[in-house]
């Protein structure tokens, strides 16, 4: 068993790494100009598909290994870094659920990448697309395989970044970039929860490894497990687009179709559910969070259902039904039916991927007609409006968070410019000189003047002014006392003394004084 595991250890890290290496290879190729343009598509395709496929093969090998020899469980490969008793390892947690998810992720990703080869043909940014897809595949594999919270967070973030990059795929369209930013920021709220969860698990359980967290979950105090579960829950509902974070996912379909399929239809949206299912032992001790979970799930189901009723395009339809399905999974988790939720997850992922990819084709085949308003909505006018407005979740977030933050930012900026910059002595932004050319213009306009010399020792800002005044004072002291009366003064005194001595000398050289002197000398001697 141990020997078998050591073979496994030698290869298992390649699973998430290979697709990422693919990303790197494509990036290097692009930078060096090897695979640009249409002629480079073949090479890009080869790398992207090759690395993904290779990764899938290893996944299948691991599966085979698991079936023949047994579930590998927790594998610790190496130490990533450590500081004090804070220690992070490179470890993978390959239990049954992880194995299933890993296989699912790998298969769907490989198929999606293969599908994209034709779909993206001759699109601008072909190479970029595959770079991101591969990165995403690696990130997703990392999420499901990670043996500790930090490694999972790494995947979690990489998935978030690749999602951001894909939504903004057509980056010259303002709406695309705006949506990408919005989605990314919404996700960051969840990330904050994840980071707090990492901290809490280290603080409360003294470990970051999944197996240890889960096995020692029972030892947590009720408060501890509730807080820990709540932080993870925040991360999960943000990633899985649950109420109140639900609106981001409808913005996310801005990206190319295959990416919508893999990201929001089938894989990334389930990452939150995966996290919740993995947390089962912790959640069992946190009844409040379980209830919240169920409530959020129900709310999301309702949100998805009603919003779906008023949608007229197929992609939106699919995305809202995804939202409600994921809501259902959350609900089952909240009720304690984790088994059901995991089955639901896997099946839904496969089904939804198929649907998304199929959607454009269906549109072609169908005789398209606008759907009549649903009878429920017909009866309840307010519900119709609410559904159309997607329950005002976005405007609400704007009103609650975005606008106050913007206003604070504006005020801080003003404060910085008006007060801090002046105190420190930086030029104000409005009148700031932004380039050497500007400066030269500015200079030649006001030719070098007498003030220029003063300019050399001029201070700006409070510290500068103090420095300037102090220097001026000392300069006066130096000029008047040290140099004039010290150095020059010494010379002057010497000159005067010398002058008098010369006069005395002259007097002495006259005979009468000489005789007088001699007489005095005699007088003294006698």
């Amino acid at each position: 068993m141990n020997e078998a595991n050591s073979i496994l250890k030698a290869f298992v890290w390649l699973i998430p790494l290979l697709p990422m290496l693919g990303t790197l290879a494509i990036a290097i190729g692009f930078i060096s100009g090897k695979n640009r343009g249409e002629s480079g598509e073949k090479q890009t395709t080869l790398i992207a598909n090759g690395t993904a496929l290779l990764s899938l093969l290893i996944v299948l090998a691991v599966d085979l290994h698991a079936i023949v020899i047994g579930i590998p469980g927790h594998l610790e490969l190496a130490q990533w870094f450590s500081s004090g008793d804070y220690q992070i390892t490179l470890s993978f947690n390959l239990d049954t659920f992880a194995l299933v998810m890993m296989t699912l992720v790998a298969i769907i990703s490989v198929m999606m990448i293969r599908f994209s080869v034709n779909y993206m043909h001759r699109e601008a940014g072909y190479q970029r697309f595959f770079m991101i897809m591969n990165l995403f595949m690696g990130a997703m594999l990392l999420i499901v395989m990670a043996g500790n919270v930090v490694l999972m967070f790494t995947g979690w973030e990489l998935a978030g970044v690749s999602s951001y990059l894909l939504i903004a795929y057509v980056y010259d369209r303002p709406i695309a970039t705006q949506n990408a930013t919005r989605v990314f920021i919404t996700n960051r709220i969840g990330d904050a929860g994840f980071i707090i969860a990492i901290f809490l698990s280290f603080h409360l359980l003294k470990t970051l490894e999944w197996n240890e967290i889960l096995s020692s979950a029972d030892s947590l105090s009720p408060l501890g497990s509730n807080i820990l579960a709540a932080s993870f829950l925040l991360a999960a509902i943000a990633k899985s687009a649950q109420v109140p974070f639900a609106p981001w996912i409808s913005r996310a379909i801005e990206g190319p179709t295959p990416s919508s399929a893999i990201f929001y239809g089938s894989l990334m949206v389930h990452a939150g559910v995966y996290l919740i299912i993995r947390l089962q032992p912790v959640l069992d001790n946190a009844p409040i969070i379980m209830t919240t979970l169920a409530l959020i799930g129900l709310l999301t189901v309702a949100y998805g259902f009603f919003s779906n009723l008023v949608q007229t395009d197929v992609k939106s339809n699919l995305i809202f039904s995804t939202t409600s399905q994921v809501g259902l999974m959350f609900f089952s988790c909240g009720m304690g039916w984790f088994e059901l939720a995991s089955w639901h997850l896997v099946l839904h992922a496969i089904w939804r991927a198929y649907q998304f990819l199929h959607a454009p084709a269906i549109m072609h085949m169908m005789d398209h007609k606008t759907r009549p308003v649903h009878p429920i909505l017909k009866r309840q006018g307010w519900l119709y409006t609410a559904s159309l407005q997607r329950f005002w979740l976005d405007p609400m977030a704007d009103w609650l968070l975005v606008r106050p933050i913007k206003r604070i930012a504006h005020d801080t900026d003003r404060f910085d410019e008006r007060v801090i910059n002046r105190l420190v002595g930086l030029p104000e932004q409005t009148s700031a000189i932004t380039s050497i050319a500007d400066w030269e213009m500015h200079k030649s306009a006001s030719e070098m003047s007498a003030a220029e010399k003063y300019e050399v020792s001029r201070g700006h800002g409070i510290a500068g002014k103090i420095l300037e005044n102090l220097a001026d004072m000392l300069f006066w002291f130096e000029e008047h006392l040290v140099l004039k009366s010290g150095g020059d003064g010494l010379l002057k005194v010497l000159n005067i003394v010398g002058h008098y001595l010369l006069q005395i000398e002259e007097l002495l050289s006259q005979p009468r004084y000489l005789i007088l002197l001699i007489l005095i000398t005699f007088a003294v001697i006698i």
């Binding site: 050497i436 400066w439 030269e440 200079k443 030649s444 070098m448 220029e452 010399k453 300019e455 050399v456 020792s457 420095l467 102090l470 220097a471 001026d472 000392l474 300069f475 130096e478 006392l481 040290v482 140099l483 010290g486 150095g487 020059d488 010494l490 010379l491 010497l494």
Partner: protein, 487 residues
């Protein structure tokens, strides 16, 4: 075969040879460079024979001179004076190389330069106070003529001022020496004999004697408020002489002070706080005035006051870090100020102006100047990776052990130096082009060679300080142990 007497005499031999050469000969410069480099190489060869583990005098040579007076011709070096000897020979070599622009009366010039070198070496190697005093005064003669004959517009005033100040200080030093001589049982001027006599004196007397020395050496160092000669002399002296003035002459003062402190430990201990205040004041005073200057040479001159304040602070800390830092700073400042005066001097030869405001945008026209001068200014600030950093760090550590948070003022001094260094770099090399300096030439190969030696020096010490620290360690240990035992 290592003889300090030979080292001392090598420049003199050079001077004699120059004196018999015909006065317009191009051979004069060649001979001067040859003797300066021979002296330098000979001094370097001492490194291999120098025992870094011993704090005792090495290569010492004692010949009784006037037995009735108790004077002797005693030479020797230890970990404190050896770095200074190396620095002196190196800077003299650089200064002589950089004297290309001196075209009139070259014979006298190079002759005096070599004599000056010999006198300075004498100061650092003398192990007898009378000999020390002779060499100390002897440096004045070549310097007086060098400044007075080859200097700038106000040269006569500058040279007279310089000599008067130094002589005035020397009077106090001589007085102290005589009192010490009187107290020494064997009536000898030998340093070790006087040391024993001095340490036996009551504290009160020690303090008075030390104050005399402090005035004498403080003028040279210089310490506020007896620095009046320095700005004028540095500005008016020809650039190679400025290199020597700030590079070595100032170090003579600090060196003398270290020797005196070793001789009169109780006095230093009781004056410790006073010295610290003087040091900090010099440090900030010099920095602020340097910042206030628009004359490039004046700025470097005042920055020297500031840097020597660091040296004094290191000495006053009276612990191993402090004294090591002080010695390091002496070496570092020698190299850095040497480099700055060299480069600014060369620039002045091309533009005939020292006003910062006349310069602009030189980086386009003279990139080599820009690189070297910027490096030198950064080293003057004590940027990590330069010798100044090692020095200031040691001094700050030493001073912190002694006085705690008072040394925050040192950081203010460093910040001020950063302010004027950054300003000067900005003024000289960036900004709009004035158009009046478009045709000045960049560093020539010889000048590049001289500048690179200095830059290499302070970078080498900055990155690999171990060698230089080793050279000093035994003596600094000895120094600090003396004060440890007194406390």
């Amino acid at each position: 075969m290592h003889s300090l007497t030979l080292l001392l005499l090598l420049p003199v031999i050079g001077a004699i040879i120059i004196s018999i050469l015909p006065s317009q000969s191009t051979l004069i410069r060649t001979a001067a460079i040859a003797f300066a480099s021979i002296t330098l190489l000979y001094a370097i060869s001492f490194i291999f024979a120098f025992d870094t583990n011993s704090s005792a005098l090495q290569f010492s040579k004692i010949v009784p001179w006037n037995t009735r007076m108790g004077t002797s011709f005693a030479l020797g070096i230890d970990g404190i004076s050896f770095p200074m000897v190396l620095l002196a020979t190196l800077l003299c070599f650089i200064a002589i190389i950089a004297s290309q622009s001196i075209t009139e009366r070259t014979k006298g010039y190079y002759l005096l330069m070599l004599l000056l070198e010999s006198a300075m070496l004498g100061v650092f190697m003398a192990q007898d106070w009378s000999l020390f005093y002779v060499f100390w005064e002897f440096t004045l003669i070549p310097l007086f003529f060098l400044i007075d004959r080859w200097g700038g517009k106000r040269r006569s005033m500058a040279s007279l001022n310089f000599v008067l100040y130094t002589m005035g200080g020397s009077v106090f030093m001589l007085l102290s020496l005589l009192v010490l001589f009187d107290a020494t049982p064997g009536h000898s001027f030998a340093m070790d004999a006087m040391l024993e006599g001095a340490r036996a004196l009551p504290e009160q007397t020690q303090v008075l004697i030390f104050l005399g020395f402090l005035v004498g050496f403080g003028v040279k160092m210089p310490i506020f408020p007896i620095h009046g000669w320095l700005p004028l002399a540095h500005v008016e002296a020809p650039s190679p002489v400025s290199i020597l003035l700030s590079g070595i002459l100032l170090k003579m003062g600090a060196y003398g002070l270290i020797r005196t402190a070793f001789m009169l430990p109780e006095a230093v201990l009781s004056l410790q706080t006073f010295l610290m205040v003087l040091a900090l004041f010099s440090l900030i005073y010099g920095g602020l005035l340097a910042w206030r200057q628009s004359d490039l040479k004046g700025m470097i001159a005042y920055s020297s006051i500031s840097h020597m304040g660091v040296v004094l602070l290191g000495i006053a800390a009276l612990n191993i870090s402090g004294i090591t830092g002080a010695l390091m700073q002496m070496v570092a400042h020698g190299l850095v100020a040497g480099a700055l005066f060299l480069l600014i001097g060369l620039l002045y030869e091309r533009t005939h102006t020292r006003e910062i405001t006349d310069y602009s945008s030189l980086v386009k026209i003279t990139p080599r100047f820009a690189v070297f001068t910027s490096l030198a200014f950064l080293a003057a600030v004590g940027m990590p990776g330069t010798a100044g950093f090692i020095a200031e760090l040691h001094v700050i550590i030493g001073a912190f052990e002694q006085w705690g948070w008072t040394v925050l003022l040192v950081s203010i001094g460093v910040m001020i130096s950063a302010a004027y260094a950054a300003r000067t770099m900005g003024r000289l090399f960036t900004g709009p082009s004035h158009g009046n300096m478009d045709d000045i030439s960049d560093l020539k190969p010889v000048e590049l060679f001289a500048a690179s030696i200095l830059v290499f020096g302070f970078l080498y010490i900055g990155f690999f300080p171990a060698f230089t620290l080793d050279l000093m360690s035994a003596s600094t240990n000895n120094f600090s142990q003396l004060f440890m035992s007194l406390k």
